[in-house]
């Protein structure tokens, strides 16, 4: 009479019959390393996105919202770096996925992971911005991806809306009035009699300026405020004096 198998023997029998062998350790290690790498890479990409967001915010004139005659929401969409905001959310999401799938990643709370990912991206992003990385990445993307609208291009679009009171271009002549050439090569006579000129704005031939004002006809514009092309100039300004 044969001795009945106990359960542990049945288990060994099943393992041997099915030919089950332990998966090699390197497979699990590799998987874990890949998840950690995904976390690291996407925090890094998040920092690139964040640095471009900083760049875009500094380049955007958010105070224009109070001058815009049409829907503020439409202008906000033009001003906000929507693409990069979406990218940074996506990158943080993927980094979250990565760390959650590491061996002990489940032990960290969602709040902890999200806040450390955001903090990491922000710190690296600020460093990246100050080393000029954001601008360089922007330039590379603008030169190589046809559909990509750079911060600079979006800025040009925004300041090429004379009907809405925003005009910009390079100064061609300076006198009682100034003449500028906009980004499509059109020349405009600018009445600067009552214009508030921000100190950062240089009214010299070949300098680029931004103008807030009113369109009179297809080539005449009354300036209410003049700003330098880069930045807003500072708050204290001067009324137009004899240029």
């Amino acid at each position: 009479m044969s001795i009945p198998m106990d359960n542990s023997d049945k288990l060994l029998d099943a393992i041997k019959t099915r030919g089950v062998t332990p998966k090699p350790r390197w497979q699990f290690k590799t998987k874990n390393i890949l998840y950690w790498s995904a976390y690291g890479i996407f925090v890094l990409l998040g920092s690139v996105a964040f640095s471009i967001i900083i760049f875009a915010f500094l380049e955007s004139d958010f105070d224009l919202l109070s001058y815009y005659p049409q829907s503020v929401f439409t202008l906000l969409l033009k001003l906000l770096p929507i693409f990069w905001i979406i990218c940074s959310i996506l990158f943080i999401g993927i980094s979250l996925f990565g760390i959650r799938h590491t061996k002990l990643g489940y032990r960290y709370s969602l709040l902890f992971i999200v806040s450390t990912s955001i903090a990491g991206s922000m710190v690296l992003g600020v460093a990246f911005f100050f080393t000029g990385g954001a601008e360089k990445i922007e330039l590379i993307l603008a030169n190589n991806i046809r559909l990509y609208r750079s911060v600079e291009e979006k800025k040009i679009d925004l300041w090429s809306m004379p009907e809405d009171g925003f005009l910009a271009g390079k100064i061609v002549t300076v006198g009682d009035r100034i003449t500028i050439e906009d980004f499509v090569g059109e020349q405009w006579n600018i009445d600067v009699t009552n214009a508030f000129i921000r100190p950062g704005a240089s009214i010299k031939i070949n300098d680029s300026i931004k103008i807030i004002g009113k369109i009179v006809d297809r080539s005449t514009f009354i300036a209410e405020e003049i700003r330098p092309w880069d930045g807003r100039g500072n708050q204290r300004g001067q009324q137009h004096r004899n240029l």
Partner: protein, 198 residues
């Protein structure tokens, strides 16, 4: 080669894992150590019959064997194997439920009798009614609440172990236990079963 039971008893789980990776026979030590605990756990969180639960248990150990190199020495082996048991049982139960939805859960009577006091609740009913009532309430609870109540109050796992078994942060474990307790009381009330806090 059969491993003498004294050799199994002398070694802790981690040592047995290392030994098993070299000699499969040592894996039976781990099987013997966890067989009854896991079988009881499978029966508690599902409504499998004993024979079905034994099949699931075998699957659990086969999966554990296949993934033995993934066992992280920073965890307790019991947490790791409970996790596999939990996931395998839930997955098998979900498959089975699709063609046996109305089946009553047939868990051990002690569980139903002891759960209210573990939850600091009491019911003025005789043993038989209490067992029936708790059975009814437990059956109505969502799986995530039922599982965590069983781990905490019947398997007597601490928060760290539950965190490792269910793969969730300790804070979430605490929150879910509280929610599960409330869900238990509310479900009981909705079904006209009144438990009072001790």
């Amino acid at each position: 080669m059969e491993i003498p039971s004294s050799e199994c008893q002398d070694k802790d789980d981690r040592e047995l894992v290392q030994k098993a990776l070299r000699e499969i026979e040592y894996f039976t030590c781990l099987y013997d150590r966890y067989e009854q605990k896991l079988l009881r756990y499978i029966l508690r969180i599902s409504a499998f019959s004993l024979a079905e639960a034994e099949e699931v248990l075998q699957e659990v150990f086969i999966k554990s064997w296949r993934n033995l190199n993934d066992f992280d020495q920073r965890l307790k082996f019991s947490s790791w194997i409970y996790r596999i048991a939990h996931n395998t049982t839930i997955s098998e139960w979900k498959k089975k439920k699709s063609f046996g939805k109305d089946r009553e859960q047939d868990m051990d009577e002690e569980l139903f009798y002891n759960l209210p006091s573990a939850l600091n609740l009491e019911e003025e009913a005789d043993r038989h009614s209490q067992i029936e009532n708790v059975r009814k309430v437990i059956n109505l609870l969502p799986e995530n609440y039922r599982g965590i109540l069983i781990l905490k109050f019947l398997e007597e796992k601490d928060y760290n172990e539950i965190s490792d078994i269910l793969k969730m942060p300790i804070g979430t474990v605490a929150t879910r236990i509280n929610r599960a307790k409330k869900a238990f009381i509310n479900t009981a009330q909705r079904n006209n079963i009144s438990f009072t806090l001790l």
